[in-house]
Amino acid sequence: MTIFDKNVNRRRLLQGGVAVTAGLAAPNFFIKGAWAEEFRNNPGSAKSVKFGFNVPQTGAYADEGADELRAYQLAVKHINGEGDGGLLKTMTPLSLKGNGILGKKLEYVTGDTQTKSDAARASAKRMIEKDGVIMFSGGSSSGVAVAVQSLAQEMGVIFMCGLTHSNDTTGKDKKRYGFRHFFNAYMSGAALGPVLKENMGTDRRAYHLTADYTWGWTQEESIKNTTEALGWTTVKAVRTPLGAGDFSQYITPVLNSGADVLILNHYGKDMVNSLTQAVQFGLRDKMVNGKKFEIIVPLYSRLMAQGAGENVKGILGTTNWHWSLRDAGSQTFVKSFGQEYGFPPSQAAHTCYVQALLYANACEQAGTFYPPEVIKTLEGFEFDGMGNGKTLYRAEDHQCFKDVLVVRGKENPTNQFDLLEVVKEVPRADVTYDAKIFGGELGPYKVPL
Amino acid sequence: MAILNVQGVCKDFGGLRALNQVNLKVQQGTVHAIIGPNGAGKSTLLNCFVGRITPDTGSVTFDGKSLLGIQPHEINQAGVARVFQTPEIFADLSLVENVKIPAFAKRDGSFRMDLWSRVGTHGEITDHAEAVLEDVGLADKLHMHAGSLSRGDKRRLELAMCLVQDPKLLLLDEPTAGMSRADTNATIDLLQRIGERGITKIVIEHDMTVVFTLAHTISVLAQGTVIAEGEPEAIKGNPKVQEAYLGGAHL
């Protein structure tokens, strides 16, 4: 039984609101025709379109956010046909012509997510409601990605995820309007599996320290599944408060627990602190059960490798991409980024750059900005030449499937950026899983305005 | 009839006996002065009457009810008002508000959640407050910030805050301390005038002019004990008092 009439025309209501303001709106604060067409922020006959780059500018991930922003700016340049063209030169199949998107010049606005769901949504809403962006992208945590992705679905504006590693983003919280190029915890586990077997054998006792929130839990689960399938035992999985700072009280119980592997399901600053302290407690040099004690960091980022300094040496983990890859796409991207900014891009920069390009290319290919068409173009889109080899944007969950890198902290770096070495490129087939295992529903293509 | 009856009150502060078996009866409608050298326990005794301090032993009954173990606001609601040694007023509020607040307490009790009516619409409270302020000679300063008053005026304001409640018992802790001669005289006048209303008063005072002008009965406290009690003339001549108080000098 429905008590309330749901068939009220939302569009008419919104238009009413706009009518109040539109007459007084100053230039570039309102795209006047925004709601006049059949989808939000339709550029119509405007000469340009806008992307919104929503990255952390304050808080612990500000440096990562800054790198994301650099990548986006580079992507905008390349899409507009400026600079050296970047991955437009290597991407296949390519529809972009280097003259903007569908002949319209690409512009951008920026915003600060503060790595908080509320702030990120507020910032995204500003981009959508005030700046009239046609797509927005970015972010450095799964909490933000999931929160912002559902906003994208409500507003009918496509969101291309930045750095988010939780299975939920394209699992139980997946959305029709959200797309993720970055890999996830499941893929980290699947990729690590064979390497762990090779390096540490099948008889190991693992101790997990897990950040006590959703991302931490999904990663713990994925890694546990992998390691237990190898025959490892899980001694204990302990939850640690976010931002604990000093982890000593969680590390000392590891010392005499009989475990010979410590798995740190932490990210960012928590990771830097827990790893630094674990090494300080001598875990890396310990012998337990007749084996050398090992520490594993399932998700690595440059931010963490830099913050933990010497302590990452020899420690295994996974990344989405690394600048030292030798394929043409990676090389081209590192070259354009390096020449522009003077240092190599991080994996966050890479995924953001690729996401911007993929969206733009899909519009060009679909011949329209109309989101349902763009979504359909991206779904099942298979491409190559952007690093990570042949990549598929799977239609069922909007997750990209591509090679995953297992890396190790480098023992003898040759220069200041040389922190990680690639141990193995795990082929796409090995990390692909059935979309059904995580549940979730994408939702409708058409969103009422 | 005794309105306040103090029986065998003792109070120790960390081994130091501040009050030792104090007995006191204050008669209805009189002015009862408590005098004594510094440290004799006068303020401690007063604090026992308003619930700030609970005596270790003994009883304090007011109007037939015990005052021990009940909260200061309940004592006030029972009809005891107090003027402090350093004026305790609402410095951030205007004079008339300072007086309206106790008037509301008297009328509405210790808690009433009236958050809709405007203060200004309670006409009788306003009238009463202004009348009392006029009585104490502050009629021209009704809307001034209380914090900006002179010390003498603050004391007058505090007195008005007590008078507006029409208390049965008024406690005055050194009402003229630190005042000039002229201000002291004005205060004596004022206290005499309000004396006509028949409010029972307990006065702690160092200024003997004030004491002998106002008091009907005087109790002398020394080292926590009442050493003498009686009418002013009798106290004046009491050698024990002179001994304790001024080391033998004549009052």
């Binding site: 609101g17 500000a62 809403k125 | 305790e88 106790p102």
Partner: protein, 387 residues
């Protein structure tokens, strides 16, 4: 003597601004009408500064309500709570649960939000108000931090932790019946409350909240609160039981926060744990002081200023700055961009800190004191010229 005499303008002059005992009923109501009009027309007059889009005007109204409520506790009663955001968070969770379990209609959601804020405040207030001063502040901080930490981790089944509590397709919504495709939208008996409609819902609530705060301020209850702030000791010896007064103020203020929290969920059906963090509580304190604590309008202004900074200043990048300084010759334009860029975009916190220090140092009464000073100067110069 009647109220009219006290409230006559002649008498008012003698009163310092903060000893505002009267304030005639008429003057209050004129101010109220102006306020209401200004709030309702925000989408118009804010558009030249780029702040008229729905999300931001919604935030202005919602945080205005929060700050008004906080001011009843801090500005009126003098208790500095460092945990006020907890009530905001609880209000949001209650509202989202109402959307999930009962109906997308906002009326029950708002009622539950206010109620949850009030009940939570009653519990925390009962314990915290046994102490005063910084001991009180730390107790409220402790409760809020506990709420936040637990909401983020072990209470995830209720709060959905990091990701925040969101609507789902398969929520029961027992009063609404089965949903169609896609997530339903919040509504007021069928009228969708998103975008500018959502703003008008918030605006009406803000206006009501302001009116109630005005009544409280002028009431005997409000006068008692101000007296408690001024001298709690005296209050006790004056026959008032201060505990129920402070507790009532605390609960009212918690209900305001609960209302604000539920409105956040109304315009955007999501509730995150960060809303309860101590930094969020600190933000409310900043808003109130920035605008002028103890005044009616100040906290609303403060809320607006901080939200404007957060949303607009943070979005300035070099590109935008370059456009702003377009009018300057080329070299100067670059210099201006270099000069200003540390203070905008990723540097917006810095600007906030500097502005905040300047305000506390030079205008302890906040923006409202600044307005009063300008007005005083203006009045003086006008009377000078008249002579």
């Amino acid at each position: 003597m009647s109220a009219a005499t006290i409230d006559s303008p002649g008498n008012q002059k003698a009163v310092a601004p903060s000893a505002n005992d009267g304030g005639s009923s008429r003057a209050d109501h004129i101010k109220f009408l102006i306020f209401a009009l200004a709030v309702l027309t925000m989408p118009i007059w804010l558009s030249p500064i780029g702040a008229a889009y729905p999300d931001l005007v919604q935030k202005f109204a919602i945080f205005g309500i929060l700050a008004i409520g906080f001011n009843i506790l801090f500005g009126l009663t003098g208790y500095l709570s460092f945990g006020h955001a907890a009530f905001l968070g609880v209000g949001s969770y209650a509202a989202v649960w109402s959307f999930k379990l009962l109906t997308m209609n906002i009326v029950p959601a708002i009622l539950f939000g206010v109620l949850a804020g009030g009940v939570f405040a009653l519990l925390i207030g009962y314990v915290s108000l046994r102490r005063t001063g910084i001991y009180f502040s730390i107790l409220t901080l402790a409760f809020a931090q506990m709420s936040y930490n637990l909401a983020y981790s072990v209470l995830t089944p209720i709060t959905n932790g990091e990701t925040g509590l969101q609507l789902a397709l398969h929520d029961p919504r027992i009063l609404d019946g089965p949903a169609g495709a896609g997530l339903p939208s919040t509504n007021l008996f069928g009228m969708l409350t998103v975008g500018y409609t959502g703003f008008y819902v918030c605006a009406v609530m803000l206006i009501l909240a302001y009116y109630l705060a005005m009544r409280i301020r002028r009431s005997p209850f409000g006068m008692a609160l101000r007296a408690i702030k001024s001298n709690q000791n005296r209050m006790n010896y004056t026959g008032f039981n201060t505990r129920p007064y402070t507790l009532a103020a605390f609960v009212i203020s918690g209900m305001y926060a609960g209302l604000a929290g539920s409105l956040m969920a109304v315009v955007d059906p999501l509730a995150g744990a960060e809303r309860m963090q101590w930094t969020a509580s600190g933000e409310v304190v900043l808003m109130t002081i920035l605008g002028g604590s103890g005044t009616l309008l100040g906290p609303v202004l403060g809320a607006g200023i901080i939200k404007y900074f957060e949303n607009i200043f943070s979005a300035f990048n070099d590109q935008v700055l370059g456009r702003i300084f377009d009018f300057l010759p080329e070299g100067l334009q670059e210099a201006a961009v270099v000069l200003f860029s540390p203070f905008v975009g990723e540097g917006w916190h810095l600007t906030l800190g500097v502005v905040f220090m300047l305000i506390v140092i030079f205008l302890p009464g906040g923006v409202m004191e600044g307005v009063a000073r300008i007005k005083a100067r203006f009045d003086r110069s006008r009377s000078d010229t008249a002579r």
